[in-house]
């Protein structure tokens, strides 16, 4: 099983990435003009109140010292205290992480469920009407801004048809799923088109490949050629594309989260950025980064599992 040996080695490569991200976020958020203390005090800010807050969160310390404390906290498994919410960042993130993960997972599943049949139809009819239809639909899926699409879905499915909840997140599993369908669909409508395009061209390529010819030459009917040879051989490039997109998705769910009022990390992040809640921005960025790294790691494992030739 030494093809999977990279599983052991890879985490070491993550460290510099995570470290780099911690430095960049730390510096970046502090470069943003705007003062967290003034922000939470609002119009009633007085100099003493400002000084009070700054002292409480160590914002009056020099930058390097703040970073040092940040690392020290991190080593203790803490990420500091939110200025806005006045609680520790870790538990705060913990309360917000589930909806985001659930959204990403549902969206990805939905995208795959849409992309595979769509691309199969397109590839097997390459150059003919169904192929063109898939292409046009794809462009529509990717061309409309998600917040607009989301609203249209709400109006259609929740207000007009009344079959799905408008927004929010439930408590029971079934409830959660029904709340996730529309947001996931919004994401999937654009994500699946990216996947479809990639899968389609891989499949077309693969349908013309020697592997497919060889299978036909031994009398395999087109369906076997497709599902047993063409599809598996088309997956590898798409897996990587999917991984990159999931990474992108993890960091970019905010629009969908806010349209559908999902209490996830994206919303937390945006509010934290707008109120200069440094610790929370750092915490969320690090969490997103770790998740992205993890997704890529999983994609690598899947790639190795799908394609026996790949060595990492």
């Amino acid at each position: 099983m030494h093809r999977y040996k990279f599983i052991l080695a890879r985490p070491l490569q993550f460290l510099p990435v995570i470290f780099g991200i911690s430095v960049i976020t730390f510096i970046l958020v502090r470069l943003i003009p705007g003062d967290p203390a003034r922000n939470i005090l609002g119009t009633r800010a007085t100099p003493t109140a400002l000084a009070n807050i700054r002292a409480q969160y160590g914002l009056d310390q020099p930058m390097w010292l703040q970073y040092f404390y940040f690392l020290k906290n991190l080593a203790n498994g803490e990420m500091g205290k939110s200025i806005l919410y006045k609680i520790d960042v870790f538990p705060l993130i913990a309360t917000r992480i589930e909806p985001t993960i659930a959204l990403v997972l549902t969206s990805v599943t939905l995208s795959i469920l849409i992309a595979v049949p769509m691309s199969a139809i397109a590839a097997r009819n390459a150059g003919r009407a169904p192929d063109h239809a898939v292409r046009v639909i794809s462009t529509f899926g990717i061309g409309f801004p998600p917040f607009w699409l989301g609203l249209m879905l709400i109006i259609l499915f929740s207000v007009e048809l009344g079959v799905l909840p408008v927004s929010g997140y439930g408590t029971t599993l079934g409830d959660k799923l029904s709340h996730l369908i529309l947001p996931a669909m919004t994401v999937a409508l654009s994500l699946s088109t990216v996947l479809t395009r990639s899968l389609r061209s891989a499949m077309i390529e693969s349908l013309k490949s020697d592997v497919a010819t060889a299978a036909r030459a031994r009398g395999m009917p087109e369906s076997i050629v497709f599902w047993r040879h063409v599809l598996p051989n088309s997956l590898v490039p798409t897996i990587n594309l999917l991984a990159v997109n999931i990474g992108w998705l993890i960091g970019g769910t905010v629009v969908v989260e806010s349209v559908f009022a999902l209490p996830g990390m994206g919303q937390l992040l945006v509010r934290a950025i707008f109120s200069r809640d440094y610790m929370v921005v750092q915490g969320v960025a690090m969490t997103f980064a770790c998740a992205t790294v993890l997704v890529n790691f999983i994609a690598d494992i899947v790639t190795v599992a799908v394609d026996p030739r790949v060595k990492l």
């Binding site: 990435v17 943003i32 801004p145 607009w148």
Partner: protein, 283 residues
Amino acid sequence: MSVEALAPSAAAWRHFLGRRLTLVIGAGMLLFFLLLAIAAPLVAPYDPILQNADVRLQSPSFAHLFGTDNFGRDILSRVIWGARIDLQIAVIGVIFPFLIGTTVGTIAGFFGGIVDAVFMRLVDIILAFPFLVLMLSIIAILGPGLGSFYIAMALVGWVSYARLIRAQMLVLKGSDYAVAAVSLGFSRPRIMFRHLLPNAIAGSIVFSMSDATLVLLSGAAVSYLGLGVQPPLAEWGVMVAEGQSFITTAWWITLFPGLSIVCLAFGFSMLGDALGELLGVHE
């Protein structure tokens, strides 16, 4: 092999259409928007920022083909003027990442070793870095507006190109003609940029077409968060975002700019497909 000078058969004709049609549609669409952008002052029926309290929120009519918004501004005129900004967003938002990514990818792929390792870790970091944090931070640091948006796109967008080009370079630098170029005593920059890069770049060119769409959508997302272009400029993403308040009462405010984004995206993706076929690239 006798070449029979025949009128193209049905099969060949179909093939021609299948292949060139995408090119014609794609290039045609982009050309249309380009002309629209250039001729905006001539073709737009009204001043795009002129407010007119008398005609607020009017549905499409002959006077205002696409209706008016809550200030009584003509949507059609705003869509036409918007083409200027959105084309600019798509082009500039892609060109800088393209140039940076291509250069980095070429260097990393060609030199390999420590240079490559450093650049690729950087790529990893940026890929793992939540795009939104970067985007919002940069916009917050530099102030909302197109400049900040372009800078943010350039800082993030280059990684896709760098990865594409690097992968190609890794393959190409081992190719016989690269070794041949070394053996002929060509300098490194010459080998990199004259011999390898032109062969490596096709995939990136094709990708840049779909990237243009992504850039447009990122712009729209930024507008949704209220950090889009400075008012009262007309930009499609901002128009859709602003028109949201009227989505159930005045659908035309969002629909037309929205459709414009879709059409532009469609043009880019068609052109991308066509280029892909012409250049022999598969995504």
